[in-house]
Amino acid sequence: MKKQNEKQEMSRRKFISLAGGAAASLAAMSAMGMPLDWALNNTGIDVESLDVNKISTDVLVIGSGMAGLFAAVKAHDAGAKVLMVSKGRLGASGQTPFAKGIFAFDPEKEDLSLDEFVVKVSRSALGTNNNAYTKQMAQHSLARVIELKEWGFFDSSLYNKSFSKPIVERNITVQERITITHLIKENDKVVGAAGFSIDEQKVLFYEAKSVILCTGAGGFKPNGFPICDLTHDGTIMAYNIGAKVTGKEWNDGHPGKSENVAACYDGWGDMFEQKPSTTGVEIRHDLGVDMNYVAYNNGSPLKMGPPGSGEQTKVSGGPYTPEEFMRHNDTPPGGKEGGRPPKGGKGGPPKGGKGEGAPPGMGGSIVGGSSAGMSIHKSEGLVPINDQCESTIPGLYAAGDALGSYMAGAIYTQIGSSLAGSAVQGGVAGEAAAKYCKNINSIKISTSKMKEIEEEILAPLKLEAGYSPAWVTQTLQGIMIPNFIIYIKKENLLKAALAYVEELRDHHIPMLRASNMHELRLAHETKNMIISAEMKLKASIMRTESRCSHYRLDYPELDNENWQVWLNIFKGEDDTMQFEKQPFNTWPV
């Protein structure tokens, strides 16, 4: 019986190959009465007649959050012609719209000097921070905050209006709802980028002397954290043209509310409705994977309660927090200020914030993985070669969460520094990129390159059958998000997950299909998430110690002998993923 089936199968295949082509095979299958809805890719788009546009500029800023804003403004003020493109809207995409606290280091008001501040951050970060970037952030934070104040940033809970002010005043062109998928390199220098518009059905090429990635971080489109539009696009694009990236082993350990997990607005009380405010020096060692460790040992529910209520679950062992930064008789990380999860580095709730809604866990329980796939802010991203936000590729800069600056280290240290750091780094990168442009005469994207990239961008639309990005994403989430894979790590499980992810990489990425521009964006995002997952797993396997937000059950101790290093990732000659160690507080060689 079985043999007969096999025989039939064989003859069917034979018939298909004889008939030639996928269309015929589909026809054959449907003739046999097989349901085909899953496979038929009915694109409502005539892929062959899509418009192709090419635009030239000096500095191309990709992303329109806090880093992008300052990158565009400062590059313009330094004399460059600037064009900003964004996947979403100015001031309303990425994590910026949800960051409500910004650190401003005012030397007049603080007890700590600038250098003392850097030293203290470094102590909390167990050496993982980059002192140059920590200092730079604090040093320039007040100046950026003052500019933001002038633009009306602190007057509204929504940032589009205040962000538009300096952009409109300077007449900087902003193109919104453009998904950039490729960075373009010619003669070892960056010469631009390419992507598509989701509204106009257009493939777009940007010829630029310099590109600043302000593309933010990313995750696996987790539930409960507003990062479903962030998929490490900048990091993966840069990796694909040979840039070094770092920081994939770290984790942001934000919890979510167990009731209506996906509702990130509700999980944050009414914080999204608040106007932003500034924070002063307050250094912590927060929001690593402590809670994940507790949950791993005790299971759900994980209690969070008001200070002193004794409602928190406690276990021994787990991630190490330096004694100086232990918070006794306090809520677990994620519990201060009325118990809602602090925005960690990304601002933290406004100090003494008023009008807080129901915080997650107050009398209820919390779940993990709400920001799954994301590292500590600014610990992951492009490797900088200096303190000017310059990447390993000439002309390519990054700022904010797209830059692996290790400004805060591999754990959340200074409250509100993430938003401040994005502003500061945006400004630094903008000026540096404008300066770089002055020495570049002309650039050109070759026609052959454009053809090749256009082909890659539109590939998912041209597939007659394949896998939907939604399904592949869901599968990836199932592989990566469990606590025992991404947070509480051990080698055999990391390797097991890697086997799955490699299957998605090799077999599913080429078969991602899209039937419209919305799905085309999802297809490219999914691809980036898969590569990012591979990076995360491999980096996690490699770092055989526990430090800050990276916790290995099989290597629970700090290993200062071998691991006072950052892990860099790059594409080797043979297109495989390569790793290198870079000692803390050095620049790459």
Binding site: G88, A92, R177, P226, C228, D229, A262, Y265, W471
Partner: protein, 71 residues
């Protein structure tokens, strides 16, 4: 069901522009915003907050997609 309904839309496109995940689109015939990809809604409420006429209703619940072997 995440983003639930839009009532009294004037077609200003504020929500469409401010949705980070491209859930809402302008209906070319009625010239009004319609919820096209609710499965991608991250329940962040930006659309509702940007709407000048307070037209958008969002619920905290989200239906989780059914697990299948391929899709």
């Amino acid at each position: 069901m995440s983003i639930k309904s839009i009532n009294g839309c004037i077609g200003c496109e504020e929500c469409i522009k401010s949705c980070p995940t491209d859930v809402i689109r302008l209906n070319p015939d009625s010239k009004k915003a319609e919820i096209l990809y609710p499965e991608d809604c991250q329940i962040c409420h930006l659309c509702r907050m940007y709407c000048p006429v307070d037209a958008i209703t969002i619920s905290p619940e989200k239906t989780i997609p059914v697990i299948v072997s391929w899709g």
